[in-house]
């Protein structure tokens, strides 16, 4: 019994401690590892063939995409499709955009997940692990890009989102299905740092073909998926109001304060309790 209690207290101790330092370790990790994998999507090259949608559904055993109506309002990813390509009428004519999980450098979904089901691999891909997830959907609340999708109509629901084909392909030394099969070279898989240089080079060499902005270089603290485009990203329906800091940074202050509250408040309470106890002894029943 006593042993159990001690063990229990130890667990609490470790928990509250790691609540303090766990964050640090994580931040270090991402700082050290700059060699994330990533994909560069070039909107000026994409011809909107939707091939990647079919490749994705095949590689991840999802239902084949339905007939795509280009002129319908832009589609979103959902529990049956991890990526979609939409057409936008822009100031420079029709431009296509592919959307999927951005694989943030410091992902909000991973910070949110209380079971570590969402996991940032050292290689850069953010994956979801079914056996750990409890389906709380806090990752969906937190993701600034609304990437995780939930199977609302299943008694044993999954979270669906792009995994960069990590388990099925990257870990086997292959590259993501969409990037491998794109016939127009709009998707380039590689090292994130090198992809940024490549994006800069393309912008530098053809300044009138691109705007000077690499979406994902700084958005939400930087993402592994990067975009370049001939028109401002706002016209492509992308969220341009995101902050430059990572989203997990928003809860840092709160989580940092937890251990100190755990130490200070009980001590304070005990102190007050002792003080007021002495006070009431002489003049019983006067309590205000």
């Amino acid at each position: 019994m006593d042993l159990d209690r001690r063990k229990f207290l130890k667990v609490i101790g470790i928990t509250s401690l790691s609540l303090a330092i766990g964050k640090d370790i994580k931040a270090e990790d991402t700082k050290v590892n700059k060699e994330f994998n990533g994909v560069l999507y070039d909107a000026s090259r994409c011809k909107g063939c939707h091939g990647c949608e079919y490749d994705c559904s095949e590689a991840n055993s999802l239902p084949e995409p339905a007939i795509i109506d280009e002129d319908a309002p832009p589609r979103k990813t959902d529990e049956t499709r991890r990526t979609v390509v939409n057409k936008f009428e822009t100031s420079k004519g029709p431009v296509f955009t592919k959307i999927q999980c951005m694989h943030c450098n410091e992902p909000a979904c991973v910070a949110a997940c209380l079971t570590q089901a969402m996991y940032k691999t050292p290689e850069g891909a953010v994956i979801w692990r079914e056996d750990k997830c409890m389906g709380c959907r806090y990752c969906m609340i937190s993701c600034p890009f609304d990437s995780p999708k939930f199977e609302y109509h299943s008694p044993n629901p999954k979270i669906e989102k792009c995994s960069m084909c990590f388990e099925t392909r990257i870990s086997q030394g292959e590259i993501p299905a969409c990037a491998e099969n794109c016939p127009n070279d709009a998707l380039l898989f590689g090292n994130r740092r090198e992809l940024i240089s490549e994006a800069r080079r393309r912008i530098y060499e053809s300044p009138d073909q691109y705007i000077e902005h690499i979406y994902g270089e700084h958005e939400a603290g930087g993402t592994c998926w990067l975009y370049i485009s001939p028109v401002p990203f706002k016209e492509l329906g992308m969220n341009t109001k995101l902050q430059k800091e990572s989203y997990p940074a928003l809860t840092k202050g709160f989580l940092y304060s937890v251990p100190s509250i755990f130490v200070l408040v009980p001590a304070l309470l005990l102190g007050i309790q002792q003080a007021t106890k002495i006070n009431i002894l002489p003049k019983e029943n006067e309590d205000e």
Binding site: C113, K241, P266, E288
Partner: protein
Amino acid sequence: MNKDLTDSIAAERLSVWKFILSEFKPKGKILTPFNVISVPIILVGIILIVIRFWKGIGAVTNLSQEIPWGLWIGFDVVTGVAFAGGAYVLTFMVYILNMRKYHSIVRVTVLNGFLAYLFYAGALLLDLGKPWNVINPVIGNNFGVSSVLFLVAWHFLLYMIAQLIEFSPAIAEWLGARRAHKILSGMTLAAVIFGITLSILHQSGLGALYLMAKEKIHPLWYSEFIPVLFFVSSIFAGLGMVIFEGSISHKVFFKQISDEHHKEQRGIIHGLAKICTATLFVYFFLQLIVFIHGKRWDLINTPMGYWYLVEMLGFVLLPMLLFFYSYRTNNILMIRLASILTMLGVIINRLNVTIIGFRWDIAVHYVPSWMEIVVTLTVLLTEIWIFRWVIRRMPVLWESTIWKKDNPV
């Protein structure tokens, strides 16, 4: 071992069980209006819960990919827990500040708080896609320690244990277990201190849950101070609930309440009104600072801005003034009115953050389905049933005279 002794122990055990079994029989009338209304709702609710586990969450809720948390989280958990805050505020006043005047209502408030947590945690399980995996973050094979939700979940669990310990002397009295009573009473202070610390953290933690949803919540309700605001408002939410609930149980459970307690009631309500005034004032002031600090003037002249003004003026400032006025004029009726306004204000505030202001900008808004509402009512009504069951049996509202002497505090 002596045979007589074993026999007598066995007989004692048997009688304890008999006693417990007999306590399961209803006390009081069966066909009351409350029963007539609540039983059908609970039955429908149970059917809906079965459907939910059979067909998935989407079969009974209106949740969507954009709005993953609806009524069950926004109201049952986030709002419900705020109202359960009365327990930690009162234990603070009675056990830490030694304000013994409030001692007579501690038990009922702690019971209320404990049941609230029990049922809201239960509501949380309904909302989980894979509730069986809830064990993962508890047994420690997967600690998502950088998650606010991890913190909140653990604190729920630990706080429920603390509250159970705080309440356990009443159970011991009910069962007539003298030794256990002594041990359990001795643990009260530790449980109280632990419980208050946990409460501060998870009341604010519920707000911190939404910190990462920065662009998704209407700027009038999003700020980095959500945790502080949630914590401060949980104080008057809880006390408002204590006042409100106190006036109801005084009518309903009239017989169970001791005379002495009746007389104290006025003084207690009066004192609580004073605390409510002060905390409402602090809260209003904080909201004002957040508003000015965020430079949000241009947002006021929009429909959401008017709604914000309604919340701040009608449900924070007005009840504050009412509390202030009524405790000076000693008007109990007005205090009750103010407490109802305060509670409405907290409900509106929590729903504004979690539902109304969450994704206010998208085309398809979330409105809870009737089924979500019935399940919510089921949770609430079942809680009231259990509450009533306990009140009628255990020494919660009245003081058991035999126990009084060896247990002065």
